[in-house]
Amino acid sequence: MNRTMMSQMPIRRSLALALAGSSMVVLASCGDEPEPTNEIGANPPLPAQSQYLVPPMHIAPVVGWKKDETPTVPEGMKIQAMASGLVHPRQPYVLPNGDVLVVESVAPPAASIKRPKDLIMGWVQSFATASPPQEASNRITLLRDADGDGVAEVREVFLDKLNSPFGVALVGNDLYVANTDAIVRYPYTPGATKITEPGVKLVDLPGGPIDHHWTKSMVASADGKLLYVGVGSNSNITENGIGAEKDRAAIWEVDRETGRSRLFANGLRNPNGLTFEPQTQALWAVINERDELGPNLVPDYMTSVKDGAFYGWPYSYYGQNVDPRVMPQRPDLVEKAVVPDYALSSHVAPLGMVFYTGSNLPAAYQGGAFVGEHGSWNRKSFNGYKVVFIPFAGGRPNGKPQDVVTGFMGADDKTRGRPVGLAVDKAGGLLIADDAGNSVWRVSAK
């Protein structure tokens, strides 16, 4: 519907919509919340939309890990803290010599308050994260486990005073860091535990003053020529105006030599965990979908990302399911919206993904994907707060997700930690950054 049509919308139809809307509100507030078990896998069933009078904001308080307390892993595997006492670690990255870089990062300064809801949401959501001393984060810490016992003996501040960094990629001896507002290149010397040289900016990325989804996930192509960067949307569903969304909700492709960029794919609300599927070499990502349409809408997903494809946000989801909150609407874009490959369930907030090709974990994990689910806030019963495994065959998901690392959320509905980025270390162990528990966990065979 375009603007001229909008103002001519008959009043009678508006009233009918209003009545329908109000009955929906009543239903949504009376009914029990259905289990989120169905909205998983390819072509998930999608329930009807329900908009709220008061959206559920169920935030689990963070209590942290007690000494010797760890997440839980299945039989035959063990989990240990590779490092603890970090400051909001978000992303592990393994260097060729086995050293692990841990990106510690906090959100950039909040944008100015736009409306009363910002005040309330900001206050409620502040309970969901441990409150670290902000000035100590926004850095990269190097961990070295030379004796292979799974615990780092060497721990150095590798790079300091970054701007809400998230993605890291090493190409040759060039280390690229994706800050929230730019990709910066640093010279890396193998074996180094610290970089003191100043960085050189490769390209600006969409940052503030509004910087709603601020994590810039990054991966380098196999030939090292291109960098792929996830740039999240600047709102839940365009409530900051469509102008704030320029070049966002997209995966950028950046030429490493020149810094020249283009949008590789868009309509991806908040893409993270960018990584290449080992068999097909296709680019995959996990995407955080929109909130406040119901407890089981819209399922977050993982998908292969096709060159030039549009995945719906903000106009639609899972193909042609139109979101009524966006105006003006764009039927021309909705028509060509691509259905993503695999739903992960609603509001689980996947922020990390890695394909497993190591040799340490049981053979069943070969070639499949681990996904770090940060956990829900927009539904009454919690969803996510775990690391799941999705088996792959022939480069496609093949089966239901399996819980692998759990126990981040206790039976008392309090969080010990929340998983974010994942990596596989040189010895084949699975590394998990835990930003609320301020730890990096390592899962390996017993």
Binding site: S7, R115, P116, T238, N240, M327
Partner: protein
């Protein structure tokens, strides 16, 4: 010429709640205007204005409602009769509708206003105007109150 009959009288001061209540009603009128503007332009700034106006109207309106109770108990609501009950109840209903409207306006983007927000903004005004017109006498009529 007959002698006038002498009665002791008391001059009643105007109610305390009126200035604040006028402020609140002005906010609700503003909400209606910015809602309509958003409906016609889809420019998110107007939806934000609506949300602020509604919140301001509600906060000040609740304070005014409390002062209205104070007025009742200290005798500044003159001529408490059926009409003034209509006035007070009408305003109360208007505030309740405005509260639900504020919840609707806390949604994101288009459906924070269209259609439910528009409908509730209009309903608030209709209730306030009806109550105001009918109960006007209760607060505006200046009488000499006879002390019994």
């Amino acid at each position: 010429m007959t002698d006038p009959i002498m009665y002791p009288v008391r001059l009643v001061k105007p109610p305390l709640f009126l200035p604040l209540w006028h402020f609140a009603v002005a906010c609700f009128i503003g909400t209606m205007i910015t809602d309509i503007t958003y409906f016609r332009t889809a420019e998110i700034m107007w939806a934000d204005f609506s949300a602020w106006l509604l919140t301001a109207g509600l906060v000040v309106g609740v304070v005014a409602a409390i002062l209205c109770l104070v007025d009742f108990f200290i005798g500044r609501l003159v001529g408490v009769n059926r009409l003034s009950v209509v006035y007070v109840l009408g305003n109360g209903v208007g505030l309740v509708i405005a509260f639900f409207n504020a919840l609707i306006h806390s949604r994101d983007a288009w459906t924070s206003v269209v259609p439910m927000g528009l409908v509730l903004s209009a309903a608030t005004l209709v209730v306030l105007i009806l109550g105001g017109v009918m109960g006007r006498a209760a607060v505006y009529r200046r009488d000499l109150g006879v002390v019994e």
